[in-house]
Symmetry: C2
Subunit: 344 residues, 2 copies
C-alpha cells in the first residue's frame, strides 16, 4: 500500500485576513503611511485549522491522498509587486502560514517555500529566507519563479549564473525546486491558462539549450502542470536536442527534471505516462487550484488526478507506487527523512 503524496499543493484557501493584509501592503507601496506591520496580521490556529479541514484536507480524505507538499498560493506570490523588501516580508508571512499548517496537520502537510524574488534583484538575496525555511521550518523544497516580472520575462534564463547561488544552496540542502510562475500582469497571458503552461515549456527549453545540469549534476527541478507542452511535443524536443548535438534527453535532462501529474483529463495523463519514464513522474493535483469544477464528461472533479492514475492501463503495478510515493521520496530527500523519522 503506497502513501499517496501530492507534491503540488498551494495554500489557496488561507483566511481572508491574509488577502486583506496584502492589500494594505500594496497600498503601503504608494503611501508609506499605510504600510501595515507584520504583527497586524492575526490568524489563529483555529482559523488555519478550519481553512484546511473544510477544504484541502476534506478533499484529500475524499480522494484518498495522504500527504501534500504544501506551498504558498502561487498566484499570490506576485513577485512583480513592490521591491525586494515588500517581497521579503510577504514571503516570510506566507511561508510561516504553511509551516503552521504543517505543524497543525503533521501527518498531512509538509511545507515547501516561496522565495522573496523581485524583478531585477539578484536571486542570491533569496537565500536567507530559503535557509530559514529549510533549517527552522522543515521545508523540503522550494518554488522558484523563472519570471518574477509576472509575464514580461525580464530575468535571465534559468541557466544564467545569476541563479547559481540558489542552486548551490539547493544542492547543499538536497532540496528540489518546482519551477512555478505567479500571476501574469501582462494582458496577453491568462495566468493559469497560458502563463503557467508557457513557463513550464520555457523552463524546460532553457535547461535543454544549456549545460546547467553539467554544472549541477544533482540539481533537481520539478516542472509542474504535467510539464506544460513538453510531453505532448516530446518528439519535437528530442529532435531539437538532436539538432543542437545535445545528448539524448534521458541523459541530458531526465536525471534532473521531473514532471507532476497536474493534467486534468485521462488522455493527457495517458500521454504523459506513455512518453515520460515513470521515474520522472510525481503524483500531484494542485488541489485546490486553477480548475475547481466537476467535469461533466466524467462526473468527477477535473483535478482529481488520482482517478486518472487509477484508471490508467499504462501505469500498473510497482510503477504506480513510484508515481505516488517512491519518486517523491527520491526527489525530496528531506521528505523521505521526515517520513522515516515517523517510521513511514
Amino acid at each position: 500500500m503506497s502513501l499517496i503524496i501530492d507534491c503540488h499543493g498551494h495554500y489557496t484557501t488561507a483566511p481572508k485576513a491574509l488577502e486583506t493584509w496584502r492589500q494594505r501592503q500594496i497600498a503601503g507601496i504608494a503611501d508609506a503611511s499605510l504600510m501595515p506591520w507584520v504583527s497586524d496580521l492575526k490568524i489563529s490556529d483555529d482559523e488555519l485549522r478550519e481553512s484546511i479541514e473544510q477544504n484541502q484536507l476534506r478533499l484529500m480524505k475524499e480522494r484518498g491522498s495522504d500527504l501534500t507538499i504544501f506551498s504558498p498560493r502561487a498566484s499570490f506570490m506576485a513577485h512583480h509587486i513592490g521591491d525586494f523588501q515588500v517581497s521579503s516580508t510577504w514571503a516570510a508571512i506566507c511561508n510561516e502560514l504553511c509551516f503552521r499548517v504543517a505543524q497543525l496537520f503533521p501527518d498531512h502537510f509538509i511545507p515547501a517555500a516561496m522565495l522573496p524574488q523581485s524583478p531585477g534583484v539578484d536571486p542570491a538575496t533569496c537565500i536567507p529566507e530559503l535557509v530559514k525555511c529549510v533549517e527552522q521550518f522543515g521545508n523540503v523544497g522550494i518554488n522558484l519563479n523563472p519570471d518574477p516580472s509576472g509575464g514580461h520575462w525580464t530575468s535571465k534564463p534559468l541557466s544564467d549564473r545569476s541563479w547559481y547561488p540558489i542552486y548551490e544552496k539547493m544542492v547543499e540542502y538536497d532540496i528540489p525546486a518546482m519551477i512555478h510562475v505567479s500571476t501574469s500582469c501582462n494582458d496577453c497571458f491568462h495566468t493559469t491558462g497560458a502563463h503557467y503552461l508557457n513557463a513550464d515549456t520555457t523552463a524546460f527549453m532553457q535547461c535543454l539549450t544549456s549545460d546547467l545540469f553539467g554544472d549541477f549534476p544533482t540539481l533537481k527541478f520539478i516542472i509542474p502542470h504535467g510539464g506544460g507542452a513538453v510531453p505532448y511535443h516530446w518528439g519535437r524536443f528530442r529532435g531539437l536536442a538532436q539538432e543542437m548535438k545535445k545528448p539524448l534527453l534521458k541523459d541530458h535532462l531526465l536525471k534532473n527534471i521531473f514532471f507532476d501529474t497536474c493534467v486534468y483529463h485521462q488522455p493527457g495523463i495517458d500521454l504523459l505516462t506513455k512518453v515520460i519514464p515513470v521515474e520522472n513522474i510525481l503524483f500531484a493535483s494542485e488541489m485546490i487550484g486553477a480548475v475547481r469544477g466537476i467535469d461533466p464528461e466524467t462526473g468527477y472533479y477535473y483535478d482529481d488526478t488520482k482517478r486518472y492514475i487509477e484508471a490508467s492501463t499504462i501505469v500498473v503495478g510497482d510503477d504506480r507506487h513510484k508515481i505516488y510515493e517512491g519518486n517523491a521520496r527520491r526527489v525530496f530527500p528531506r521528505l523521505d527523512t521526515a517520513l522515516q523519522a515517523k517510521e513511514l
Copy 2:
C-alpha cells in the same frame, strides 16, 4: 483517394541572396546610406525552382503529399526589426517570392501571406499588403503574429479591437489566419522550442477568455504546432471555460479554431486526434522547419507527420480524408475554389 494538403509550410530554403538582402536592410536601419533597393534583390526562376525541387518538393514526393499552403519563413518575419516601412518592404519581398514559387509549381504550392506587422503600429496598416496578396497573388490565407515584438508580448491580446480591421478583411475575403509568431529576441524563449508553442497556447486562451467569435462568427484561426499545449491540457481548458461560465469549448471556440498536425511523434498525434474533433484538425508538417532530423526511435523524419496519421488507429476511414483534404478545403475556401477551377 485524398489530395494530401499540407496547410503549414514555410519557404525556409530561399536562395541565400534573400538573407543577404535582409542583412543589408537591417544594416540600413542604423545607417540609411546602406539601405538596399528592392531591385537589388535578384533571384531568378531557376534559382527558385532549384531551391524548391531539391528541398520541399523532393520531400513532398518522397512522403506523398500533394499540395502545400506556402508562406514566408516564419522565423525570418522578425517583425520586431525596424519600423513599419522596414516590415512592409520585407513582407512584400517575401510574399512575392512565395507567389512566384506557386506560379512555378501551381500543382504543388499555393501561397499564404505574411503581414508587415510592426510593434506598436496599428494592425490596420497591414491591410494593403493583405489585399494585394489575396487579389493579385491568389493567397488563400495569412499568417498573423500575435506578438510582433518577438517575445516581449507588448501588443494587445487578439481579442482587442485594434485587431478588428484585419478580421473584417479576413471575413470579407473568407480567408483564415494561422496564428504564428516569429523569432524570439527575448533570451528567455527559445524560438521554436518555447516561443512558438507558448504563442499557440496564449492565442487559444485569448480566444477562450473573450467573445471574439461572437463578434466574428465566421472568423477562422488555425493554431499551429498541434495547438501548443492545448490538446494535452484539454481538460484544464474545458475546466477553465466552465469556471468562467463560457459555453462548452466545442460551441465557444471549435467553430472557429483549428489545429494542425505539426506534432512530431506518434503519441502526440494520437492525443491530438483523440481529444480534438476530427473536423478541427488539418494535416501539416511545417516541413522543412524546426526539426529536420531523423528520429532514431523510428528511423524516419520527425516531421514526416503523414506517417503518424497513416499509423493511427484512431483516425480511420473518412476521418483521414477530412484531415488530409476535406477540412483544408472548408477552412481555406479560396483554396477549394482554386482546386475546383482545376477540376480537383
